[in-house]
């Protein structure tokens, strides 16, 4: 087996195998979203019950899978010299990135499925425009993956771990996901609205809302996410170090 696609597939399997064994990544991508669905869906901590909670937790699934988990895994691959060694094998950079992208997508999709099914079990009735929701979700995946790779490719491994987890926590709490920005001072709320986490949470909420307020907010979300994706991708491309 040595075609390009076979190598990319082999690397996908390898990434998934290591990821599913790493307790920290499992905690981030599966346990935390599951606990949050239960906590937010069964309580009134966030107004709107399970219908309001699911888009927020889906945002967290995407943030965990595409940003934190990807950054941690890649950061350690860099530190252990594994990426350096792989660069001497027939696995090309394109193969490696394809493998990483598919593995990340698979894990994120699994998390999204688990959250959705759990939500349905708790009474969530998916409504709204699915193609738009999927489009926004994919855009969010790209945004966070670009920034995850930028982080993993520029900082030391220990710093990647600290920053990836710190940003994860900060965005969940103050990035317009859990705490409603409208409850905060106006200047702060405006700034938060331009964070990718807030844009994704808002976009998913709108897309999954049976009675959407309009397309303007969706468009804003898409634009904000696109801008962050572009910036992250350019930075990652420019500054990513393979060793």
């Amino acid at each position: 087996m040595s075609t390009s696609w076979a190598r990319a597939r082999a690397h996908t399997g390898w990434e998934l195998r290591l990821l599913l064994r790493n307790g920290e990544q499992l905690l981030l991508v599966f346990i935390i979203p599951i606990v949050l669905v239960l906590a937010l869906g069964l309580t009134t901590f966030v107004p709107g019950g399970v219908d309001a909670a699911i888009p927020k937790v889906l945002t967290i699934s995407i943030l965990a899978g595409c940003f934190t988990s990807l950054a941690i895994a890649t950061g350690f691959e860099r530190r252990s010299g594994a990426l350096r060694f792989l660069a001497t094998t027939p696995l090309t950079r394109a193969n490696l990135l394809t493998g990483k992208a598919i593995a990340t997508a698979v894990v994120t999709l699994l998390s999204v499925l688990v959250v959705s099914l759990l939500g349905i079990a708790l009474g969530w009735r998916p409504a709204g425009t699915w193609p738009v929701a999927i489009g926004i979700a994919l855009l969010g995946c790209l945004t966070f993956a670009a920034w995850g790779l930028f982080l993993a490719g520029t900082l030391r491994a220990e710093a990647v771990l600290a920053v990836a987890n710190g940003v994860f926590l900060a965005l969940i709490l103050f990035g317009g996901i859990i705490i409603d920005p409208t409850q905060l001072p106006e200047a702060l709320a405006t700034a938060i609205a331009f964070l990718p986490s807030a844009a994704l949470a808002q976009g998913l909420t709108q897309a999954l809302d049976p009675n959407p307020v309009g397309t303007a907010q969706l468009l804003t979300s898409a634009l904000v996410l696109s801008a962050w994706t572009l910036a992250g991708a350019l930075l990652a491309r420019r500054f990513f170090h393979w060793e």
């Binding site: 087996m1 190598r7 290591l18 594994a82 350096r84 060694f85 660069a87 001497t88 094998t89 027939p90």
Partner: protein
């Protein structure tokens, strides 16, 4: 590889090095730390681009798929997934190559139990080194690059590795290795390249280098009167103390020379040991080349910048 140059910013790591490795030939890159050995291997394996010069693997650029499919690489720093088990790592790698060796058989032959459930990070340094070697041998490479392969190995494992390298060489595998263990080089290498400050300061078949220069070495107490000894040996001989207690006499090796050295020592009440007539150790050559390189100021510019 011809006229290789590598510079990092203003620091010159490799300056105009050329060499060729034929099938079945083992070439050792030796030299002090910072000599450019690792940089050279990195360029040969496609990890780093050359600033100047030309490097080809089987006629292809090192970073090309055609080149990468036919080489095996053991890096000095890293090349393992700490959380992966040895067998699953090799099983994954095997999927990247067209005609890989069997991972279990390979691990067994290197003394690693393929059924171990221990992740790589729990293995000893020597075991990790052997897993890295297994990854390098997995592609059944035509050309093998080994950066400090014996570092961290215990004596038995080291001898096993050297034996394995000799067998690979006999089977036609070309080998490039870098090492500080010069005794290993004398045992396995056909050709030696001595790098100092990025410059190739000496090169050639091991036997020629060791035999070159008509010299005799011996050990005695440090600080002998070099002038007095040289006077006793007569014209045509020079005496140096390479390292404290390590003496090198340059000049034709004759029975008379050995008698003169031992007589002079006996007269001075000194016990001369480890007399090597007509040859130097590779260590002498590297130390001498390093000194000469520094004296010539060739590496001063690299060290300064």
């Amino acid at each position: 590889m011809s006229d290789l140059w590598v510079t990092y910013g203003t620091t010159r790591a490799v300056a105009g090095v050329s060499f060729t490795v034929a099938a079945g030939q083992t070439t050792a890159l030796v030299g002090p730390n910072g000599a450019g050995k690792t940089s050279t291997v990195e360029v040969c394996t496609g990890l780093r681009s050359a600033t100047g010069g030309q490097v080809e693997l089987f006629g292809y650029p090192p970073s090309s798929l055609a080149g990468r499919t036919r080489i095996g690489v053991m890096l000095q720093n890293g090349g393992l997934y700490p959380t992966a088990r040895p067998l699953e790592w090799l099983t994954y790698l095997a999927k990247l190559y067209p005609d890989p060796a069997d991972p279990s058989t390979l691990l067994n032959s290197l003394g690693i139990d393929p059924k171990t459930s221990a992740p790589t990070r729990r293995l000893s340094g020597g075991e990790q080194q052997r897993v890295k070697l297994a990854a390098a041998l997995l592609p059944k490479p035509e050309l093998l690059f080994l950066d400090e392969p014996t570092a961290g190995l215990d004596p038995a494992a080291r001898l096993d590795l050297l034996g394995a390298l000799r067998r690979l060489g006999a089977d036609g595998t070309g080998i490039v290795l870098t090492t500080h263990a010069l005794g290993d080089v004398e045992e396995v290498a056909d050709e030696v390249l001595v790098l100092v400050g990025g410059h190739l300061v000496a090169s050639g078949p091991v036997v020629d280098l060791i035999g070159a220069g008509g010299s005799t070495s011996f050990r005695a107490t440090a600080g002998l009167e070099l002038g007095a000894l040289a006077g006793a040996l007569g014209s045509g001989y020079q005496v140096q103390e390479n390292r404290p207690g390590n003496y090198l006499v340059t000049g034709p090796t004759t029975p008379q020379l050995l008698a003169d050295i031992t007589n002079w020592c006996a007269a001075a009440g000194i016990q001369a040991t480890e007399i090597r007539a007509g040859g130097r150790t590779l260590e002498d050559i590297v130390v001498e080349a390093t000194r000469n390189g520094i004296a010539a100021g060739e590496i001063a510019e690299a060290a300064d910048s």
